[in-house]
Symmetry: C2
Subunit: 259 residues, 2 copies
């Protein structure tokens, strides 16, 4: 399996049979030796879940012609962990996750299984990137997204990023002629306003469907949401140190003053 071409680990959260991961494989297959390790079923909204209370299955499958691929019963983060330990037996040279069917800009980075796979790779020290298209339809058109993937992965292989960082890339739904290119951005300050849809089952017990309305609260510039609305693909560098250093300094002062 190994040769001197870079090893490109491909995963996602929509499952190995989603059109988005097929588009991703097609986009990167000329850039290195592609190995796919992806969930055997959809895992959207799994955040950074890992499977510790139950065992995992891992099966070699033939889903992509000429590409080695495995499906895993676990989460996107599980796939990245298993790929290193049981399939590659070394670190991949790059990990690409997606292409997600639906947006993962702004606060969605926290809920996204696509991004959690990329985050897990970054923890391992593998340069990584998650790709999402702002169209959640199963038959979405990934043509433009594939171009973005190719250009960015080629660039990342040529110019290694600092260790333990990753990129969150979202691609707008625009005509090719209206596409403005890639733009480095920050995560917009936004959230989902949930309004659970309450229903009653045939046995008279209540149940709830989560229904959310996206609320962009960001009034500043240079956000991913803003870039996407203007026809750019947004590229947000993400770090895995979640410490709030400004607040750390504030609390140290406050606590000392109170002592």
């Amino acid at each position: 399996m190994m040769n001197d071409r870079p090893i490109i680990l491909v995963t996602n959260d929509d499952g190995i049979n989603a059109p988005g991961i097929r588009a991703l494989v097609e986009a990167v297959k000329d850039l290195g030796e592609v190995v796919v390790v992806a969930p055997d079923s959809p895992q959207s909204g799994m955040g950074h879940a890992i499977t510790i209370g139950s065992p995992l299955r891992l099966e070699k499958v033939s889903v992509f012609e000429g590409i080695q691929s495995w499906q895993c019963s676990g989460t996107p983060a599980d796939c990245v962990k298993l790929a290193k330990d049981k399939i590659l037996h070394r670190k991949a040279d790059i990990c690409v996750s997606g292409i997600n069917h639906g947006a993962n800009h702004s606060i969605n980075v926290i809920y996204s299984g696509t991004m959690s796979a990329a985050m897990e790779a970054a923890i391992e020290g593998i340069p990584s990137v998650g790709f999402s298209l702002l169209d959640f339809k199963f038959d979405a058109d990934f043509t433009l997204a594939k171009t973005v993937v190719y250009d960015l992965v080629k660039r990342m292989l040529a110019n290694p990023m600092p260790e333990h960082t990753l990129l969150n890339v979202n691609v707008p739904v625009v005509e090719a002629k209206d596409f403005k290119g890639m733009k480095i951005c920050r995560q917009a300050h936004a959230k989902w306003e949930e309004n659970f849809d309450q229903r009653t089952d045939p046995r008279g017990r209540d149940y709830y469907w989560m229904v959310g309305k996206f609320n962009n609260m960001d009034t500043g510039t240079n956000t991913d949401v803003e870039a996407l609305a203007a026809g750019y693909a947004s590229v947000v560098p993400i770090k895995i140190d979640f410490t709030d250093y400004a607040m750390k300094a504030l609390l140290e002062k406050e606590w000392n003053d109170m002592a």
Copy 2:
């Protein structure tokens, strides 16, 4: 239910019947009006998972004497979302999550269901904190942890934190006389080295158990891991903007130079 005492929303990821959440309820019950909304079963390692592909159940239960409590079929993040929309019909004044049976310092903040509940509350603009004890045993001694919870929650109610930030608090296993107090820290740079335990089921198919060895790669000072080893309870302020601003500046320069 409502009066002029602060509403304290209590949740966790070990499930509503875990001793840790009972210790947490006992620790805060004199500080406000406590409302418990917690998973009906253990959810460890769920990260920031949310339930979007299946409906949720929410049942009023009598688990804590004199305390209103609900169990939910979803994740810790689901519990926080449901609490606001279907139970409190307003923002809680503070959200406390835990007390987790086991450490959530350093990189564990990413995998932790305990911390994801606190993070979800912070997204909602609720001051929040996740508590973990460095003892994963079911019958762990929460006496010291309860003191830490009481002192910190009292302080947080008196001195509101900036919006959309939260605290990650870990409590060491030490004798009360050796406890050094609380210390503001940063997240240590660390990771888990996975080594999957491969087994064969009675039908001859392989399966895998995740087994991890913790590896602290941090050589600097002022980390949560260091503070805990020295007998402090570590307090790490966490933010929900994951943008790596240093890398953003770097990439902007690099991409401009290449253009």
